[in-house]
Symmetry: C2
Subunit: 328 residues, 2 copies
């Protein structure tokens, strides 16, 4: 019935102000602002993801189909972050006269539609309009769950777990920016993120899933949202973070490790599991041997996010921007 | 359970292709593409409206607050078009670094929030991001109704009714484009459209409301959507169309009459009422004396939209663009 606290950051400050004062959510709304999505009576989960050319994607790096597909996959990741299953999307596209005339906008839509279908969602509607400059792809994701899993709920002593590995999309972006070569497999991982819908459902079914978020802004920043929403401190073990081998191949170990913390757009899950889950982790590995699940830390008392290294523990703050540089 | 046919137009062709093949809507979705909004189990109605600077608004013509407010009001009009009541909105904003830094984006959000509150909706969440060029305001409108009213359902013999009067927003845009003066009242009508939520609910309660759409693209074009969805012909009486007196003051009678048909952004309702409604129209006038309701034509057999004048009947095709000129 209430909104969740967000981690630090100027854009989150603005979202906080926009949604302030509705701790009493309207009738029928069971979960308001601050989480990955709104939850409505009947188990509906609704989120929106706005992707803008030059900020969230560049057309030199992705085909039009990939731009549409990636936007849809990113939006559906927000549903996975609530342990909800995708049902449909509303797809809004804006592009220049040329994008309309030469089929670019159509290809963006085709890619979005194909990605939705691949994830079990139908295109239920949308909007097509002109844009004086770049492409805009806006995706409303509609999903359903009987038990939405929120960002709040983490308690001291819980374990922090991450699906898959981190840093490869960030490393691909760095290479594309620098003009250094990127292999097909790495590029595909960047262009076609996979919402961890099935993994979230499996984790929820264990009964030990306390809090959940998808990693779109980087592990450090997204962990900060969970810490703020739950009123706890998240302690990450530097040596435990599953840095993607492909990222190390592309940019080296040091940068890959930094990207695993701050790079963003991994679209993996950060799951906070009750201590009892440790004994069940092998079951996850049997069910999802190719995606994997790694324990990356522990929930403690306090606030914020810290990184524990052999040299000690230091505070971690929010992420980089999507395409590099510290977030404003 | 199925999608509705859309009227003619290149952008509708693309929406048709994106949503093609889902006549079997997913479980839980009771109304798919082609109407003003998607309808989900539990009576939830979801629509999205993407507003792009230079296409849907210009910042020389509207304050930042008005830009946000107008986008929200336009989105909530889509709910009125389903006879649904607004519950909440998800508000996504994109702007340049300068827009972030100088408070423009914040003001857009503030205006959106105030407009939502004025219409009975809360801001349930959203997204704030950068845009390399212009402002983008995307509004997801969430509403609820027990009986969504669709675009299909019009039958030969039904009456066509329009709330309020038409053409004033279009006339204001023409004057702003030409640099000719616009009075405060006319400008306010343009900047602060009022979703006809209460009027739609009243019309639905009569039991005679067969089909409904809000007038965002102009009466001619939107009537075309109803005609296509219902498989009928809509016959408009030229002399009956309620041209806004303020529009005549601004641009003269001939241009005002054309704008009433093609100008768009009126955000009034076109309601298709069973013949029995004629006897009840006086009750509407008592309930909403300041908004009004005018019978503008009749449903006939056939397809498309025609305009009946003293000289005969001629086919009407879709609208102008938002800011003038024939739609592409």
């Amino acid at each position: 019935v209430t909104g969740a606290a967000l981690g630090p950051g100027a854009e989150f400050d603005l979202i906080r102000r926009l949604t302030a004062g509705i701790d009493d959510a309207p009738p029928g709304v069971t979960l308001g602002p601050g989480d990955d999505a709104a939850v409505l009576d009947g188990g509906w989960v609704v989120s929106v993801d706005l992707a803008v050319e030059g900020v969230h994607f560049r057309r030199e790096w992705l085909s039009a189909e990939e731009i549409g597909g990636r936007a849809v996959r990113a939006a559906l990741s927000d549903l996975a972050a609530m342990a909800a299953s995708p049902v449909g999307v509303l797809l809004s596209l804006a592009g220049s006269e040329a994008d309309h005339a030469d089929g670019t906008l159509e290809a963006v839509g085709r890619g979005g539609r194909a990605a939705a279908a691949a994830c079990g969602a139908a295109v239920l509607g949308g909007d097509v309009t002109r844009s004086p400059s770049g492409l805009v792809v806006d995706v409303v994701a509609l999903g359903r769950t009987e038990n939405p899993v929120r960002r709040q709920g983490a308690r001291p002593g819980d374990g922090l777990w991450v699906t898959g590995s981190l840093g490869l999309p960030g490393a691909v972006v760095r290479c594309l920016e620098r003009g250094t070569p990127v292999g097909d497999a790495a590029r595909a991982r960047f262009a076609h993120p996979r919402p961890r819908t099935a993994q979230a459902a499996w984790l929820a079914e264990t009964g030990h899933l306390r809090a959940l978020i998808d990693l779109s802004d980087g592990l450090a920043g997204d962990a900060g949202h969970v810490a703020a929403a739950s009123g706890v401190r998240l302690v990450l073990e530097a040596g435990a973070i599953p840095v993607a081998p492909g990222a190390i191949d592309l940019v080296g170990g040091d940068e890959a490790a930094a990207l695993a913390l701050h790079g963003g757009e991994d679209y993996e899950l950060l799951a906070v599991m009750a201590p009892e889950f440790d004994a069940l982790a092998a079951g996850y590995e049997r069910r999802f041997p190719r995606v994997g699940l790694t324990r990356v830390g522990t929930v403690g008392a306090g606030a914020g996010v810290t990184l524990r290294t052999p040299k000690g523990e230091r505070p971690l703050t929010g992420g980089f921007d999507h395409f590099g540089g510290e977030a404003s």
